[in-house]
């Protein structure tokens, strides 16, 4: 699990250097969530965005 988290942080750091907030960028962010089953990754990002909007 620790390695998965390290990979995720490294992929996210790379993504943050790229052009952020395009559609492709959001998909990449979801895809980077390797600690979650593939089918839950997009849903997780949508939950995150919704929570951040309503907080």
């Amino acid at each position: 699990m620790e390695n998965v988290m390290i990979n995720w942080i490294s992929r996210m750091q790379k993504l943050e250097d790229e052009t952020p907030f395009t559609d492709e960028w959001w998909h990449e962010c979801a895809d980077a969530l390797e600690m979650l089953p593939k089918e839950h990754r997009e849903g997780f990002m949508i939950s995150y965005v919704n929570m951040a909007l309503q907080q």
């Binding site: 750091q13 949508i46 919704n50 929570m51 951040a52 909007l53 907080q55």
Partner: protein
């Protein structure tokens, strides 16, 4: 799998919802950040340290011993949004309070953009709300979101297994209505109130799309899952509706809320609706719903009046902040007794408001009420 005590607690609530005579009236905690005021910790250290939040939440249960809890310290995930620049709230350390302020992230003309691609539009709103996200901040925020999710799960497990106290609902079954989304995350209270008059059709179309994309499947999934271990199957909270008159409610709010309720009734399930402010002027909409499906938690309405107008709806609340915060133990117990005797079956005793501020309650009043309720038979 669950202890006998746990099953008994669930039964107390299910009996109340179904108007069966319960062993005793279920006593539900609607305490949120007041728990911090009643603890050894400051607001700031509790909200940013989940270990402290865990401890004070457990201490609260051990002190007051409610039958179930609306909140286990999961209300304010400030670390998630602080990492990316902070949300639209005021955190006052002197008064120990958090207040959100009304804000506008989209124009009325943009309902049509939302309708075309709601998911993309939500991401646009996210960028507008958090315009200055720096390097490493998304990772920090998402990590905090993970941590917060794990905390919520751990607390539910702890209360279920160690304390034999049921969660009121599954976290994924808390499903806010589209109107509340545009109220809190898009247009704000003031602008949305104007949209109801000036852009009603665009608003209705956008809410229909929000329902189809974000809500419908979430309700179906929640109702299809085994939620027998929870007090209710789905949960929603009404706030923005308080700005509407009856005609506006009928046209703008009720059609989608009715979809929630119809699905619940069709599948013989239950929904818990927390009604902020007042709702009695809308009582007629709930009058024909059959017994056993809906709980209305009332904030500012007269609960005795509500019973007369909605005899088949289970009601929750009754203990007011005015009494708990400024009354005496004797007066609080008198009110609890009156509530139990007059409302009896189909009633869940709780606090009218989401208890958040220091003056909402005095410790001796709450101890007196809970001690009385524990032993009082209907």
């Amino acid at each position: 799998m669950y202890s006998e005590e746990y099953n008994e607690k669930v039964k107390l609530f299910k009996d109340a919802i179904n108007f069966r005579k319960p062993k005793k009236v279920p006593n539900l905690s609607n305490f949120f950040t007041w728990k911090i005021c009643d603890s050894e910790f400051s607001f700031k250290e509790s909200l940013y340290d989940l270990n402290k939040m865990d401890k004070l939440t457990c201490d609260f249960h051990e002190r007051y011993d409610f039958d179930a809890y609306m909140d286990l310290g999961t209300r304010n995930p400030l670390a998630v949004t602080d990492a990316i620049g902070g949300g639209f709230h005021i955190f006052n350390e002197e008064t120990n309070s958090i207040n959100a302020y009304d804000h506008v992230l989209m124009s009325a003309e943009e309902y049509t953009d939302f309708v075309q691609d709601p998911i993309a539009f939500c991401k646009t709103l996210f960028q507008r709300k958090y315009p200055n996200i720096g390097a490493g901040e998304m990772v920090k925020s998402l990590s905090a979101f993970f941590e917060f999710g794990q905390y919520a799960q751990n607390m539910t497990n702890k209360f279920t297994k160690e304390y034999s106290r049921p969660a009121v609902f599954d976290m994924t079954a808390a499903i806010l209505t589209p109107y509340e989304f545009f109220n809190s995350a898009g247009r704000g209270i003031k602008e949305l109130s104007l949209d109801v008059r000036r852009h009603q059709q665009e608003l209705i179309e956008a809410m229909e799309v929000y329902y189809e994309v974000f809500i419908k499947n979430a309700i179906d999934a929640a109702l299809a899952s085994d939620s027998s271990m929870y007090v209710t199957d789905i949960y929603t909270a009404l706030l923005g509706y308080s700005m509407l008159n009856v005609k506006q409610f009928e046209k703008v709010y009720w059609p989608i809320l009715k979809k929630y309720i119809d699905k619940v009734v069709e599948q013989d399930k239950t929904i818990y609706i927390f009604c902020e402010s007042t709702m009695l002027r809308f009582a007629e909409f709930f009058a024909d719903i059959p017994k056993g499906h809906v709980v209305l938690h009332l904030e500012l309405d007269d609960i005795f009046e509500a019973r007369k107008k909605m005899p088949d709806i289970c009601l929750a609340g009754g203990m007011t902040t005015e009494l708990l915060g400024y009354g005496t133990p004797e007066k609080c117990v008198d009110q609890a007794k009156r509530l139990i005797e007059e409302l009896g079956e189909g009633f869940i005793l709780s606090q009218n408001k989401m208890m958040s501020f220091e003056n909402d309650c005095k410790r001796e009043n709450l101890l007196a009420v809970n001690d009385f309720v524990k032993n009082y038979k209907i």
